[in-house]
């Protein structure tokens, strides 16, 4: 069991697209969720393991990654509270990637069969979950473009724009300053760059007056310029953020 407020961010996100009734929401809240805390860097799921559960991030940050045979790591997505970390588990038998906590995190875990039953019984919930999985896929596609065709500066600027916009949409800060627990190594692993290259590029973005990045805070000083540098267009986020966001303009004016 878990309290209703834990799912606030999830329902806020879902309700932007699907009208869930109070009964739908109660049915989700009343699933036999198991709350579990993870330390920073802890693994929530490992590639190759059979899938038994689905997990919603309640507090903290997490990411998905894959490790190659030579030991290098590619981060394939970052996650914020209110997002499922492993939606595909409900229908796929084996985990095809790892899920790791980026910070100390609290999650709610439910057996996948129970989630599937609920999806069968409640079409609106099924549609919301289905949509989430399609949005995940759209973000993966954009990341293929990001690592495949953009230069280092564009890649990092694009990543920062995406994260800032998603956090803003989730009500996790209204900009220009965001809680930003990513290490430079994680940014490097998400963009397919070396740590040295990442460091140099972040410095350059800072010097150009676009961002300020400290140990745990990202400040976007000039959203429009950063979005342009990052070749960032919001379409791939499918209005999940657009309507609620206005990050444009220089931070100093606000």
């Amino acid at each position: 069991m878990t309290d209703a407020s834990s799912f606030g961010p999830l329902f806020r996100r879902w309700n932007r697209r699907i009208s869930l009734t109070n009964e739908d929401q109660s049915a989700v809240i009343n699933l036999p969720w198991l709350r579990k805390q993870f330390q920073r860097d802890a693994y929530l799921a490992r590639e190759g393991e059979p899938t038994g559960v689905c997990t919603v991030l309640i507090q903290g940050f997490a990411f998905r990654q894959k490790i190659l045979s030579d030991g290098s790591r590619q981060i394939i997505s970052f996650h914020i509270p209110g997002e499922f970390l492993d939606l595909q588990n409900c229908l796929l038998e084996v985990a095809d990637h790892n899920v790791q906590a980026m910070t100390r995190s609290l999650v709610a875990i439910v057996p996948k069969d129970i989630l599937l039953q609920l999806m069968g019984a409640r079409p609106a919930v099924r549609k919301a979950i289905w949509l989430d999985s399609l949005l995940d896929a759209s973000v993966f596609r954009e990341w293929v473009v990001n690592v495949g065709r953009r230069d280092a500066r564009q890649r990092i600027a694009h990543l920062l724009c995406e994260l800032a916009l998603r956090m803003k949409a989730a009500g996790l800060g209204d900009g220009p300053m965001f809680d930003f627990p990513l290490t430079q190594e994680q940014i490097a692993d998400a963009t397919g760059l070396t740590a040295v290259h990442t460091n140099r590029t972040l410095q350059a973005l800072r010097k150009s007056g676009l961002i300020n990045l400290t140990a745990s805070k990202l400040t976007i000083l000039d959203w429009d310029a950063l979005a342009e540098e990052g070749d960032f267009g919001e379409r791939y986020l499918h209005h999940s953020v657009q309507a609620v966001c206005s990050l444009s303009g220089r931070a100093s004016e606000g």
Partner: protein
């Protein structure tokens, strides 16, 4: 435009059934989906980024790609689609296409309206489940492509793409005597791997020299699948199919 054919959607039914066991009734419901057959020239667009998708094309013959362009016009291919695959399940509940879908070769598609698919899912939840599994596996393939272009060197990258393609053709029983049609030009291969076509050309020649691939016009074969898989760092787990090694 040809008349609908009662077995046109057979490949799709077979593919969905391979992901989630479907009854006779379900398979017949898929075959009975109202559709329009269209013959398409190579390079014609099925869907453009920004379009509002109102139908889902099922690829019956030929090959298609998903791609996106960056602001400066460089193109990234995101997936290669083979016969039997639905090209727009990814857009099923989305209002705006976030990428392009384009024919690589000449081909034939069956267009099914989005309403017909939504009605099918509403009536037969098991078919809905099979479709959802299909889109989840596609998402897994996108993840693997992030890894491929993000971390692998050019030789491994290209070998990986070739392995994936062969493996998927095998799963759909679209190979001939261990040979695979490779409908993709070196330039397109470059767009799928984030490399230049000069680089791709060099890597293909090296793979050939090392006896890992044999090419004969548009056909490709792998003299030793095990060695190729090794060079490609290819583990088919992310394709979520039963064991179907070529």
């Amino acid at each position: 435009m040809d008349a609908p054919h009662e077995t046109a959607l057979q490949l799709l039914a077979r593919k969905l059934n391979s992901h989630h066991r479907l009854s006779e009734v379900h398979q017949r419901a898929i075959l009975a989906l109202p559709h329009k057959i269209r013959r398409l020239e190579a390079h014609s667009y099925i869907l453009r980024e920004g379009d509002r998708p109102d139908r889902c094309a099922v690829l019956l013959q030929g090959y298609a790609v998903r791609h996106k362009s960056t602001g400066d016009g460089s193109r990234q291919i995101l997936a290669i689609n083979i016969p039997g695959e639905a090209l727009d399940f990814q857009n099923l509940f989305l209002e705006e296409a976030d990428h392009n879908v384009q024919m690589l070769s000449r081909g034939v598609v069956a267009d099914v309206s989005r309403e017909a698919i939504e009605a099918l899912i509403a009536t037969h939840s098991e078919i809905g489940r099979a479709i959802l599994i299909t889109t989840l596996i596609e998402a897994s393939i996108f993840r693997e492509w992030v890894v491929n272009v993000g971390q692998r060197d050019s030789r491994t990258r290209i070998a990986h793409l070739l392995c994936e393609f062969a493996y998927r053709l095998n799963a759909q029983e679209l190979n001939t005597d261990g040979a695979y049609e490779l409908p993709i030009t070196q330039e397109q291969l470059a767009d799928a791997t984030g490399l230049t076509s000069v680089h791709v050309n060099r890597v293909l020649q090296a793979l050939q020299r090392d006896g890992l691939i044999e090419r004969d016009r548009r056909m490709i074969r792998f003299p030793s699948w095990e060695r190729m898989q090794d060079v490609a760092d290819f583990n088919p787990r992310y394709l979520h199919t039963a064991d179907l090694a070529p």
